[in-house]
């Protein structure tokens, strides 16, 4: 699904990633753990093609094709979704309108008929129930006046509506209380299946209590220094990162 080869990349002339290799197969859930400044967010921004991030060497293949020259929207339309660490506010644009435009943009790309207002409403109401969200949400502007937990839940709601094949969760767990964390994890778990892959980026091991990763990677100084199973996360929790740092 996603193959990253010897990726060197950075932002504003500063190289942050120094040779990342990552291979996420269809249906797999990978977790990347690391401290602040290790390059976690740079990695997600580079995969999604954010402006200003530059790849200096290596390649990113999505379904076997290099996507380095693709625009952010083309990557999104092709099935790459990112749940933002800090979802932005778009004043005056209501959630229904925003999501409907996004869903229809994707349907159009996939050669499907665009949904009319009624069918869209039906779809979103189902997803709202799934995420334990109120219908009143639909009338509100995108992320405006949302609490931290509501913003993150909204990200998962968008994920459920857009049905991506590769979902990047950029610190989706940070800033959530335990109840919100459980709802978010439930949303992810219900959606995760043998066709849909996940890249979960996180600080904390606690999120891994609620999801089932296949592989855990540790990112230090822009390099993956160790990969392993879920037990690696537990080990990190006990020992911290220091034992993995180069001397």
């Amino acid at each position: 699904m996603l193959e990253i080869k010897n990726l060197h990349a950075g932002v504003e002339g500063k190289i942050i990633l120094h040779g990342i290799d990552l291979n996420i197969k269809q249906g797999e859930m990978h977790v990347i753990m690391g401290r602040n400044g290790s390059g976690k967010s740079t990695l997600s921004n580079v995969i999604t093609g954010r402006n200003g991030y530059e790849v200096t060497a290596g390649d990113i293949l999505y379904k076997g094709e290099s996507i380095l020259d693709w625009s952010p929207e083309d990557r999104a339309l092709a099935g790459i979704f990112m749940s933002f660490q800090y979802p932005v506010v778009i004043p005056g644009v209501n959630n229904t309108y925003f999501l409907k435009a996004a869903v229809n943009s994707k349907r159009k790309y996939n050669g499907k008929k665009e949904l009319d207002a009624a069918s869209f409403l039906k779809l979103i109401k189902e997803k709202l129930t799934e995420m334990d969200m109120e219908a009143e949400y639909l009338q509100r502007a995108v992320n405006e006046g949302f609490s931290g937990g509501e913003k993150k839940r909204n990200e998962i709601l968008q994920l459920l509506c857009l049905e991506p094949e590769l979902s990047i969760m950029d610190e989706t767990d940070s800033g959530l209380d335990i109840d919100a964390l459980k709802i978010v994890a439930k949303g992810i778990n219900n959606y995760h299946n043998e066709k849909r892959s996940f890249l979960v980026i996180t600080h904390y091991q606690r999120f891994l209590k609620y999801v089932e990763p296949d592989i855990v990677h540790v990112l230090i100084g822009g390099k993956i220094v160790k990969s392993g199973g879920k037990e690696l996360a537990i080990e990190l929790e006990e020992k911290g990162y220091r034992w993995l740092e180069p001397a």
Partner: protein, 483 residues
């Protein structure tokens, strides 16, 4: 029926030998460029105006000669040569034979706005097929209004048929001495609209200049006068979302509104004149407009809503004089300057009566090399006990070559006044665009969505159909604003 008799008058006029010695031909009747008293007299004669109106025009003209063009607005343009303007050209413009002769770029825009073919022809000056019988539309429409005693006609007709009404109100809100452009308009105004709503009548439909589209073109010096008598209501729509081309570069219109006791006037404008060449700004319209309404008696209300997307230069401050006690003035505005457009726009709220209230919501959008200034004045006079004003001026910038400026003027002479003023300027954030891109929306769609969200409070004030058109219009006007 004036719509039917008009051609006869024209024929009659054309067959006359013109005593002032101006050029006359069969197809069109056009004065040579230039302005003097004879030109003013000629216009008035052509329109068969009463003597008092000619006298009024002449007073304005003589006053204008003593005035200087204002330079305080934050706009830049080449000097206008007032002797190089044609002040009378009527009634028939040269028509193109088919849409094939029209600029394809313009047609592309019409298509995007979803304008029907026949309307496209009218807008671009192509001869309209007999199928589209706008005369009968107009007739039916007028009959309906006639039942209520509502007068809605061209200004010229009103000057002839309702001379007393026109005389009573003309120049009472915008006197002929008001300002350079308004004074010029008073001397040479070509035509415009006249509306009178009788006592206690709620006008049953939105009055739109659209219904007058097939009557003689109003030209560059338009004059509008709307009177709402006691307890009446009217909603008036001016303009059109379709881009209008015009060979006249200078447009100096005047609009006067008069609201009597308990009356409400809602005036909505969508202005989309040709903004000039996108790269150079050449050829665009200068839109220098004076719009003012007076809430003459108690509990009256005037509400201006405008969506300004066109013209090379816009200079416009729809204002309210709140004379009657408890009267209300409102101003809702969206102004967009893209490419090389310049806009200096805003409002004035003059509080004279007790418990008068005013609301100003202004949304400015600058993109490309667009320059935009909000200029607003709130004046609370001595007798205006408990007057209240709320002003909110927001600007949004797209790109790094445009600019937004805010000039609020506040003058309070009564200590009981309550004033609130909020102003913000923001960029469309890279983070907002990326967020939308990441959800599969193109950058252009994202910008139009963000801008429409920004303008929502104003669009909510527009009549439903107009609001939808305005949304679409912003989308088209912003095209190419991101490199």
């Amino acid at each position: 029926m004036p719509a039917n008799t008009q051609p006869d008058i024209i024929d009659q006029k054309i067959s006359e030998d013109y005593k002032y010695g101006f050029v006359t031909d069969i197809e069109s009747e056009t004065l040579p460029p230039g302005l003097d008293e004879d030109v003013v007299r000629f216009i008035s004669t052509k329109k068969e105006e009463p003597q008092w109106l000619l006298d009024w025009r002449l007073k304005a003209y003589r006053h204008w000669l003593k005035m200087k063009e204002p330079v305080w607005a934050k706009v830049h343009y080449h000097d206008i040569d007032y002797q190089d303007i044609i002040y009378y050209s009527a009634p028939k413009k040269k028509e193109l034979q088919s849409l094939d002769e029209v600029d394809p770029e313009l047609l592309r825009t019409y298509d995007k706005l979803g304008i029907p073919l026949e309307e496209q022809k009218m807008l671009s000056g192509v001869a309209v097929d007999a199928v589209f019988d706008s005369v009968s539309v107009t007739t039916t429409f007028r009959e309906e209004l006639g039942k209520y005693g509502i007068i809605f006609c061209s200004f010229s007709e009103a000057a002839k048929n309702h001379s007393d009404l026109v005389k009573k109100y003309l120049g009472t809100v915008v006197p002929y001495t008001d300002n350079y452009f308004a004074t010029l308009n008073s001397a040479v105004f070509s035509d415009g609209s006249f509306v009178y709503i009788p006592k206690g009548v709620r006008c049953p439909m939105e009055l739109s200049t659209y219904f007058r589209i097939n009557e003689a073109k109003t030209g560059q010096f338009e004059r509008t006068l709307i009177i709402a008598d006691e307890g009446s209501y009217v909603s008036y729509l001016e303009g059109c979302t379709a881009p209008m081309r015009d060979e006249n570069q200078l447009h100096a219109a005047v609009v006067e509104l008069v609201a009597h006791k308990d009356a409400t006037i809602k005036y909505s404008t969508v202005q989309n004149w040709y903004p000039g060449h996108p790269k150079t700004g050449v050829g665009g319209i200068y839109n220098f407009v004076t719009k003012r309404g007076i809430c003459l008696e108690e509990n009256s209300r005037i509400s201006w809503t405008q969506v300004e997307t066109g013209s090379a230069i816009t200079w416009k401050y729809p204002s309210c004089i709140l004379k009657g006690d408890n009267s209300v003035g409102e101003f809702y505005s969206v102004a967009l300057s893209n490419n090389h457009q310049q806009a200096d726009t805003g409002t004035k709220m003059i509080h004279l009566g007790k418990n008068t209230r005013s609301t100003i919501i202004s949304k400015g959008i600058s993109a490309g090399h667009g320059q935009q200034a909000y200029r607003g004045q709130v004046k609370i006079m001595k007798g205006a006990e408990n007057a209240r004003n709320f002003s909110q001026c927001d600007s949004i910038l797209i790109g790094d070559k445009c600019a937004a400026h805010t000039f609020p003027y506040i003058d309070v002479r009564n200590p009981t006044a309550q004033m609130e003023h909020e102003a913000t300027t923001s960029n469309i954030g890279e983070d907002q665009l990326f967020y939308c891109n990441q959800r599969g929306l193109s950058t252009e769609d994202a910008i139009s969505m963000i801008v429409n969200g920004f303008c929502k409070e104003v669009f909510n004030e527009l009549p439903m159909e107009f609001a939808m058109e305005a949304t679409k219009l912003l989308e088209v006007s912003l095209e190419g604003s991101v490199g």
